[in-house]
Amino acid sequence: MLPYLRQRFFQSAISLLGLIVIVFFLARLTGDPTDLLLPVDTPASVREEFAQRHGFDQPVIVQFGYYLANLLRFDFGQSLHQNAPALDLVLHAMPTTLLLAFWAMTISLLIAVVAGAMAAWRPGGLFDRIASLISLAGASIPNFWIAIVGVLVFAVWLRVLPTSGTGTPWHWILPVTVLFVRPCGLLTQVVRSSMLAALSSAYVKTAKARGVKTRSIIFVHALRNAMLPVITVAADQAAGMINGAVIAETVFGFPGIGKLLIDSILFRDFAVIQAAVLVTAIAIFVLNVVVDILYSILDPRVRHN
């Protein structure tokens, strides 16, 4: 396990470095930051002074060197829009998004495991057909439309849920819903097909022949083995939740990392974009390592190889 983790760590470090390079140079490609950040009629002296203060007058390679050196000291630069350290802004927004993603993932996994397992028990049965259709629809409906319809029905018509803010648990219902529907649909499909494979295996037949209770066959014998592909997909979906978070947080004015990213993209706030992208990438890396460890706990074959 340890050599494997070490290898994984170095691979991710290379990927992260690549990401840093790409994002840095992409951001610089948009043009001279002094032109973007200062009004058009700024006098040349002020312009020069501004460029010097932020190091924009140096060659790009030198700027990149400074940037890397600062990164090693955990200095991601200043947000030019909000006048605060970029890293602070990102770390301040992170917990909201993590909590949002946590609830969305927990709910989707719970629903997906129960619904997928029940659908796989009688393939082609009524429950299976209904569950398959709903999960397919859930995986196909765009999440921004779910957000809009949610606002329309629960905030505009019924007036029971708020449309923006984070104050009470009520504020979380719509954003979590927007985030969980698509992963839940996909996961239900994966649980179903992986349960189908597990239920036709020899050990389930043995358990049936020995008269083990149905519920215990599904949830103890089959499910544990069926969970491996489910965990892989769930990890992918969890990493992809940042996509949904961008949408949900923009629509509901949620102060998370998705909204921070969109805002800093619209205001061309390089330092914040770079910090947010890096922190997201690191979070995804940590998630993948946790999944690998989980895998080895669940599957002895992985542990011994």
Binding site: F144, L152, T232, V246
Partner: protein, 307 residues
């Protein structure tokens, strides 16, 4: 009588196949309805702009935010009109073109690039193969929407750039699938035979390996189409996709967002159009998968799950 039997026998390989397929489609009502719906959408894509040359852009300030389900102003206003009095039905029909063509172009581009790179990585391997695979890992380790947003923020959000960005964000899926298949096909006997006969690597890759890999990739592409359409709509919704004079469904949802409390139909209909098209595409893809090759279905299931 004898003549009739010979005729039916002679046509057996083609007609019953077609008839059986259509019958099977009719039997599966969901797949049948999906097909009908997709045919209507395709009709709108092909002929909509020529049938309604300017109805989608014609402003009618008296009919501003006209509610749906009323044909007082003519059948074009049956779904209501937007904040400038433009018919929503006409805009939906015109918008179908960009929405579907952008998704189609992006799917095609990412499939072609992914297949070529996958063939190189799988057949040639070596250092180039490693570099390609590492780059794919890097692409896949990062959320696609975020990637697209950052690139579109640098490039201007023209239609060609949107296609490029969408293709880039999914190219790794084809690459990985193609490489995995090539690695398997490469070891088969007919490839060794071709090699022994002195075929060049290029010829082996294109003539002997590619045809065996292509069916899986095409099936993957049909599944990707709906995902691509959703991704394009998300970008347009966030204002970083196709820009205003052009019409796409995602853009229409975004434009209607400000009028939710007064005119819900502005963003409801285009969102419904996106959802129904995506659901139909997925239902049909599922049906094709089970009808054509049940033994292969697990592969796609696994692949789709990994994407």
């Amino acid at each position: 009588m004898p003549a009739a039997t010979t005729v039916s026998r002679a046509t057996k390989p083609t007609v019953p196949f077609l008839r059986d397929t259509l019958l099977a489609l009719w039997r599966d009502k969901l797949a049948f309805i999906s097909t009908m719906f997709l045919l209507i959408v395709l009709f709108a894509v092909a002929f909509g702009p020529s049938l309604l040359p300017d109805a989608a852009l014609q402003m009618n300030l008296r009919a501003r935010n006209a509610p749906p389900f009323s044909i007082d102003r003519g059948w074009l206003y049956v779904l209501g009109s937007d904040n400038l009095g433009r018919s929503l039905l006409a805009r939906l029909i015109i918008g179908s073109r960009y929405t579907l063509l952008i998704a189609g172009a992006a799917v095609l581009l990412s499939m072609v690039c992914g297949t070529i790179l996958g063939l190189i990585a799988g057949y040639r391997g070596g250092r180039i193969g490693t570099v390609i695979m590492r780059a794919a890992d890097m692409l896949m380790s990062f959320p696609s929407l975020l990637l697209a947003l950052i690139v579109l923020f640098v490039l201007s959000p023209q239609i060609s750039n949107v296609v490029l960005v969408l293709a880039l964000s999914r190219v790794a899926v084809y690459l990985r699938t193609c490489r995995a298949e090539v690695l398997e096909v490469r070891e088969r006997q007919f490839v060794s035979a071709a090699r022994a006969l002195g075929a060049s690597p290029l010829r082996i890759a294109l003539v002997h390996i590619l045809p065996n890999v292509l069916p899986t990739l095409v099936t993957l592409a049909t599944l990707e189409f709906a995902a691509m359409m959703l991704a394009e709509s998300s970008l347009s919704f966030l204002g970083l996709g196709v820009q205003a004079p052009a019409v796409t469904w995602g853009l229409m949802v975004a434009e209607g967002r400000g009028y939710l409390s007064s005119a819900w139909w502005l963003s409801f209909w285009p969102g419904l159009a996106i959802s129904l098209t995506a659901i139909s595409l997925n239902l049909l893809a599922n049906w094709v998968r089970t009808v054509t090759d049940p033994s292969q279905s697990w592969r796609l299931e696994a692949r789709r799950a990994n994407s």
